[in-house]
């Protein structure tokens, strides 16, 4: 009993994903002979707990999409390491392991589906790609759900996971061809599509339905982590709400972990447990979403939050805006020291020094800020 408890605690503490000093530089042509490193993601460290949603927000060009892709090793990182389920991702085998358990939902539902494939083929493509591992599938499913059940606090939830596992195992016992079809049907039902549509082609679906297809494809391999790259920004408002609800239901049911990349702050607030704010390739603030919205400590977060167009005329007009001067600097020649200092209303001389580049520090419990002079709680008037 005690052993079990200890084990449980250990599992709870272990994050599903942790990223250490991740760097992604792209060589970019700046002159005829000259190339320069574009630092899309620069020295990012964070960890994601099992079953939570980590929101990543920032302006365009801040590297949030690149971060998601680099975590999944869709780009080979320039530096730093990624640990998934405690396993260091280095070799090709590790990457295969990562891709088996972590999947991605793409931004544009119109260009991320092959127009010449039927929906069934699209959803089953990950299964076909990892066909060699089909015999291991029961083992993978068992492992995944055991981890989930161990991490679950609520016994009811644990029972739900057990039921899910049994269902999955029953399916996985079938021969591959039958399994493939049955899996596609069950996936389509899970994301709210009818299974009769399996033989259709992508152009016959609307934007929301296509995004559901993308989600079903990401779910095909029973992943534990899904990186969602702006999954709702191309959708209409009413459809956006439907897809967001689907995401939440899936998390509830399958114990998924999300990294949710988006630029719409209200959507991120709605879906995330914790939020990381990015600026010019750096994570400048990381905190629980409620804390972040109530007591932002980085000047950039404060201005970002004040710029949200709130769909409520009275509070939208009451809200005093912190309007930043100028545009986001080009990541090709980022400012020395603190990346935000060129637009920061509080910038001091110390912020510009090369040595003073602020690193992410835990200022309060669970509230990380990368700023030399973080704002005190309640002091948001700028």
């Amino acid at each position: 009993m005690t052993m079990e408890k200890k084990n449980e605690n250990a599992v709870k503490e272990e994050p599903i994903l942790s990223v250490k000093n991740l760097k992604m530089y792209f060589p970019t042509q700046v002159g005829f002979f000259k190339t320069k490193q574009l630092k899309a993601v620069d020295d990012v460290s964070l960890s994601v707990k099992r079953g939570e949603t980590l929101g990543v927000v920032g302006e365009s060009g801040c590297g949030k999409t690149t971060l998601g892709r680099t975590i999944l090793h869709l780009y080979k990182p320039t530096g730093g390491t990624v640990y998934f389920n405690g396993r260091k991702i280095v070799t090709g085998k590790d990457i295969e392991y990562l891709h088996l358990h972590a999947q991605m939902v793409f931004q544009d539902p119109y260009s991320s589906l092959d127009p010449r494939m039927t929906i069934e083929d699209i959803i089953a493509e990950p299964l076909d790609a990892h066909k060699g591992l089909f015999k291991k599938q029961p083992l993978i499913i068992k492992e995944k759900y055991e981890r989930l059940i161990a991490a679950a606090k609520d016994p009811k939830k644990a029972r739900g996971y057990e039921e899910e596992m049994e269902k999955e195992l029953k399916l996985a016992a079938l021969p591959f061809k039958e399994y493939r079809h049955a899996r596609v049907v069950s996936l389509m039902q899970t994301v709210g599509l009818s299974s009769e549509q399996a033989t259709r082609y992508p152009h016959e679906f609307s934007g929301g339905q296509r995004q559901r297809i993308g989600i079903a494809r990401a779910l095909a391999l029973n992943p534990e982590l899904i990186v969602c790259d702006e999954p709702v920004s191309a959708l209409d408002v009413s459809i956006q709400a439907q897809v967001l609800n689907t995401f939440e239901e899936l998390q509830e049911k399958l114990g998924l972990t999300y990294i949710f990349v988006a630029h719409n702050l209200l959507v991120v607030k709605h879906i995330s447990d914790r939020i990381a704010v990015m600026y010019l390739g750096h994570v400048v603030e990381l905190a629980e979403s409620k804390k972040l919205f109530e007591e932002p400590m980085h000047p950039y977060t404060v201005s970002l939050l004040s710029a949200i167009p709130i769909p409520d005329p009275k509070s939208a007009r009451k809200n005093e805006r912190v309007i930043l001067k100028g545009d986001i600097p080009s990541p090709l020649n980022a400012p020395s020291g603190c990346p935000f200092r060129t637009r920061c209303p509080f910038a001091k001389d110390a912020c510009a020094s090369e040595k003073g580049t602020p690193v992410l520090k835990e200022v309060r419990k669970g509230h990380f800020v990368a700023c030399l002079f973080p704002l005190e709680a309640g002091r948001t008037g700028m």
């Binding site: 609307s206 209409d236 408002v237 009413s238 607030k269 447990d273 167009p309 005329p313």
Partner: protein, 630 residues
């Protein structure tokens, strides 16, 4: 009164010819916009909001056309059916538009400055024309009023019991108007004269200014030259002086080294030598010394002597080295001096250049002013473009005007688009998703900008967006569109806090609000946005509506006033009003009866093409042959 409204749209229908038939993207919308108000048009994709904007400007693609019976009245002028030539004087002049994507709306091969000037040069006017514009406008307004009166009088039916009375009243009014027009004409003449005088005066002022600037420039140029000469002389004298003092310094230091350090060392060495040598010499002076001992002593004395010589030599070498070092030091000091001298010269030159260039740019500006006093010219257009770019917050506008669109960031380009739209002081600004392509921080800047400029210039603004947050932030009035129709319109507070259409309610509940947090479920609208090719017979929103009733499926509700400046077309809202006692049962029945069915969607079967007819013919022949064969 129509005159109070800037824009009155009534029963606007726009349809597109597509291979499948005809799609009515805008199906009979009516609204009015007052001067100085911001109107927001909200809807999902395919609701017809952008087509509405394009219809107002009449810039539809070739397959689209506005149907007969539609009317768009702008400042008392009917735009529908106006000739292209007349429209061109209005487009970009009185009605300006900001497009969604600045990257595609600007021409990539021309500089920003050129594109901005072009917009103004197209609406070219002389200075006098600009000055008498209000008088011309007043005259035109009165003339149109008279024409309208005439039409109304002629349309009074003969069997009207008050025919005589009405005609009489109209005639007196017409007389008054005619007198007013005469007065206007006189005013215009007077204004023209005054304007000519003003223009002349302005020209004189500007040319005086120009001449004064010329003089100032030549004076400052001469001054700069003279100053430069004296400065240069002073500088070279200073440099020579410094060189001299450096040399003197060096000599002094060298001498100090020689006299103090080296002499002292030599002295000390000699002293030590004599001290060492003394006992040996004394010993050698004793007479009874064994010969071997004496030889040994001699050798020792000799070696000491040799050591001493070496020491002195080393001292001398050290002295030589020190001398060399000192010389090198002197040389480097000279180099430093020369560098400082050069940089001082450079500074002087750049300072002089600055004063001259400042005078030169002032001259250029006054020349622009001078030329601008002739009316709209390239120079005045440039000046105004610079003013506008400064207004929208573009730094270094003169420099930026020489750049191409690709050299700007998205936010900056959108500012340029806004500046371009505002160049000709429009009375109406139509902004089609002005901030959709931008980041939130830039979006906040742009919205603030539009609002502040609107307040300053007092124009009417129509903002088309899908973002309810944007609407909440800056609009005064809101129209919600669905499937080409306005389903609800009213003031922004009414729409947000008291929505009277199920679609509006659905939209509001499907976006996460300020109090969003995890675990709080959104309440989305079920189903997909409407398919314009297959509209239902009744309310277009009925298939997705939670409170859909039987009547909703067969009839489209007529627009109903539900509050102060708040209209909606919804049966469910009417039922609510009956329950709360705000609507009587009789009125409700009348309202339901006023509903109308939409005929078979808007899609009409297309005429078969020539190719299609051929195929049909061929098929018919084939089947005939087959029958014959049997």
């Amino acid at each position: 009164m129509e005159n109070e409204h800037l824009l009155v749209v009534s029963n606007l229908h726009t349809s597109f010819d597509v291979p499948a038939g005809e799609v009515r993207s805008v199906a009979g919308i009516s609204f009015a916009l007052e001067k100085g108000k911001i109107l927001g048009i909200v809807g999902e994709s395919g609701s017809g909001k952008s087509v509405t904007a394009a219809s107002l400007m009449q810039i539809l693609s070739s397959s689209g056309h506005i149907l007969a019976g539609s009317s768009v009245v702008f400042e008392g002028e009917e735009l529908v059916g106006m000739s292209e030539k007349e429209l061109r004087t209005i487009r970009g002049g009185k009605i300006a538009m900001i497009f969604q994507d600045p990257m595609t709306a600007l021409n990539p091969v021309f500089t920003i400055g050129r594109q901005m000037e072009e917009a103004m040069l197209l609406h070219k006017k002389s200075r006098v024309d600009i000055l008498v514009e209000p008088q011309v406008r007043k005259l035109r307004d009165d003339e149109t009023a008279l024409a309208r009166k005439l039409v109304i009088r002629k349309s009074i039916p003969l069997d009207d019991p008050h025919f005589a009375k009405k005609t009489e009243a109209s005639l007196t009014e017409e007389k008054a108007l005619a007198a007013l027009i005469e007065m206007d004409k006189a005013d215009l003449e007077a204004a023209k004269k005054a304007a000519a005088a003003t223009a002349e005066y302005e020209k004189k002022i500007a040319s005086d200014q120009y001449r004064y600037q010329w003089k100032k420039l030549s004076f400052s140029f001469k001054n700069a030259l003279r100053g430069a000469l004296t400065e240069k002389l002073q500088e070279s004298a200073r440099y020579a002086n410094e060189k001299q003092s450096a040399l003197r310094n060096e000599d002094k230091r060298l001498k100090e080294k020689e006299t103090l350090t080296l002499a002292a060392k030599k002295c000390e060495d000699e002293k030590r030598w004599s001290e060492l040598l003394k006992p040996l010499l004394e010993e050698a002076a004793t007479k009874d010394l064994p010969p071997e001992k004496r030889a040994h002593l001699k050798a020792e004395i000799l070696s000491l002597d040799r050591k001493q010589t070496a020491l002195v030599e080393a001292d001398e070498a050290a002295y030589a080295k020190a001398r060399l070092e000192a010389k090198a030091l002197y040389k480097s000091a000279l180099v430093e001096l020369k560098k400082a001298h050069k940089s001082r010269l450079q500074d002087m030159r750049s300072k002089r250049w600055e004063t001259i260039s400042k005078a030169w740019s002032a001259l250029k500006e006054s020349r622009d002013d001078f030329k601008a006093s002739f009316g709209v010219t390239r120079q005045s257009a440039k000046k105004r473009a610079v003013e506008m770019l400064t207004l929208v917050g573009v730094n270094e506008p003169r420099k930026r005007m020489k750049q191409y669109p690709f050299e700007f960031s998205g936010g900056m380009l959108q500012r340029v688009m806004i500046a371009m739209a505002l160049l000709s002081d429009p009375d109406l600004l139509i902004a089609d998703e002005p901030t959709t392509a931008l980041d939130v921080t830039i979006q906040a800047q742009i919205l603030e900008l539009i609002r502040s400029i609107q307040k300053k210039l007092g124009m009417g603004v129509i903002i088309i967006t899908h973002d309810l947050g944007v609407v909440a932030q800056i609009c005064d009035e809101v129209e919600v569109m669905y499937a080409g129709r306005i389903v609800e319109r009213g003031s922004v507070n009414e729409i947000f806090y008291n929505p009277k259409h199920e679609y509006t309610k659905g939209l509001l509940s499907s976006i996460p609000g300020e109090d969003a947090q995890k675990g709080k479920k959104l309440h989305p609208i079920e189903g997909n946005p409407v398919d314009v090719f297959a509209l239902p017979k009744g309310c277009s929103f009925a298939p997705r509506c939670e409170r859909c009733m039987e009547v909703c499926l067969s009839l489209y509700p007529k627009e109903r006033k539900v509050g102060e400046a708040h209209h909606s077309s919804c049966f469910a809202a009417a039922v609510d009003d009956v329950v709360s006692g705000r609507l009587s049962k009789e009125d409700f029945v009348a309202f339901v009866n006023e509903g109308f069915p939409i005929d078979g969607g808007h899609v009409k079967a297309a005429k078969p093409s020539a190719f299609g007819r051929l195929i049909k013919l061929a098929k018919a022949k084939m089947s005939q042959k087959g029958k014959e064969g049997q």
